[in-house]
Symmetry: C2
Subunit: 199 residues, 2 copies
DNA sequence: TCAATCTCCAAACGTCTGGTTGGATTTGAT
DNA sequence: ATCAAATCCAACCAGACGTTTGGAGATTGA
């Protein structure tokens, strides 16, 4: 009758959420299946039923978190300031959802091969197009380099806190945000026709 | 006098070298004590004799690799070009000894607290002074930000290859090197008092 | 209602892990 | 030759790990 069957989707979601948390905190090797089941409130066995194993769960968690990365961050307006604005919003996103940056680094350090490479490459390419739309003077390669620099700086800030700690003392979010924004703007301004370019 | 009984220092060194390799490759959780003993050629038990345990060996390996980081990389000359040159050499160093960058990220992601913080802070401060010596127009904070940006970009390039892969396709060392150098130079030029920047 | 099906869970399994131990073997000094 | 220290080695330990299993309880269709 009307009453709902088992809420199997909710179980999957709870497991995925817990997996994202645990894998983001401790990486693949450090994550514990027992801990994921504990914080999800589900039984350990459900992981194997729904996902197959630890490795597959890692992939599923990674996919879910990474694929939607650049989506909600359009570049509005045009010119270097629009790029700087985008960088600021990407910084804020990385700050508010550090699992994205951390999972990215875990993936690179532990796993090696990127999951969902095609999808991510596609979204990255779209973002590069957006950048070039806002900065027609930029070459394709320069736009890629710029996006890579912005993403790298934001990710590293949230996932590698001790380098900042050692260099600048107590980390200061606002200050770093301003620095990254400034860097992005300078790079955006550094286009052929606006200044002399490196070969 | 003369010759020593057993070359105990060599044993320590072999263990440390192997530990650096293994920890750099797989991180703390992923590294296997058995593997370290294997590639060092020493017995597993020697690790506990000399270092106490896995955690202490990790600290020792990290210390040895990180503390000497910025030492052999003086800033020669002055002006933005000197900074760009430094960035290029730091890039080359990171490329040729990736364990430095990787261990730094492992430390940040897994461990949290920086090992040898005081020593590293001191050397970083020295480097900041050097930068300011080459660029008197830069404020202390700006010099710190600049150093942090250079180090971050170089480290991330060698330890997080999939972001570049997804954004630019096949990674190109020379191209990235040029991009980081250009970024450093732009940042170095962006100082109060240098209102207009000729290239 | 009955039986089939699905979700969940507790317990168990086999393996691997970091770490320990005791003794055999090597080495240089005396 | 003898001694002591350094090393190796094999076995062992207890705990943690990822994974599997057997069945209990809930749900559904007839």
């Amino acid at each position: 009758m009307g009453s709902m069957a088992w809420d199997t989707d909710a179980t999957r979601e709870k497991l995925l959420d817990a997996a994202i948390t645990e894998f983001s905190d401790r990486g693949f090797s450090g994550a514990r299946i027992h801990q994921i089941s504990r914080i999800s409130g589900c039984n350990r066995e459900r992981i194997y039923f729904y996902f197959g194993g630890k490795a597959e769960l890692f992939e599923a968690a990674l996919t879910r978190e990474l694929v939607t990365a650049l989506d909600d961050l359009p570049i509005v307006g045009s010119g270097p300031v629009a790029i700087a604005d985008f960088a600021g919003r990407y910084f804020d996103l990385s700050r508010s959802r550090p699992s994205l940056a951390r999972l990215t680094f875990w993936e690179g350090l532990e796993q090696g091969h990127p999951v969902g490479a095609e999808t991510r490459a596609l979204r990255a390419a779209n973002k590069v197009s957006e950048i070039r739309g806002a900065l027609p003077a930029l070459s394709e390669a320069a736009a890629e380099d710029l996006l890579l620099t912005i993403v790298t700086l934001c990710h590293a800030w949230v996932s590698s806190p001790n380098v900042p700690l050692v260099i600048t003392g107590t980390p200061d979010d606002e200050r770093r945000r301003a620095s990254i924004i400034r860097t992005s703007e300078l790079l955006a301004r550094d286009a052929p026709g606006m200044a002399s370019q490196p070969s």
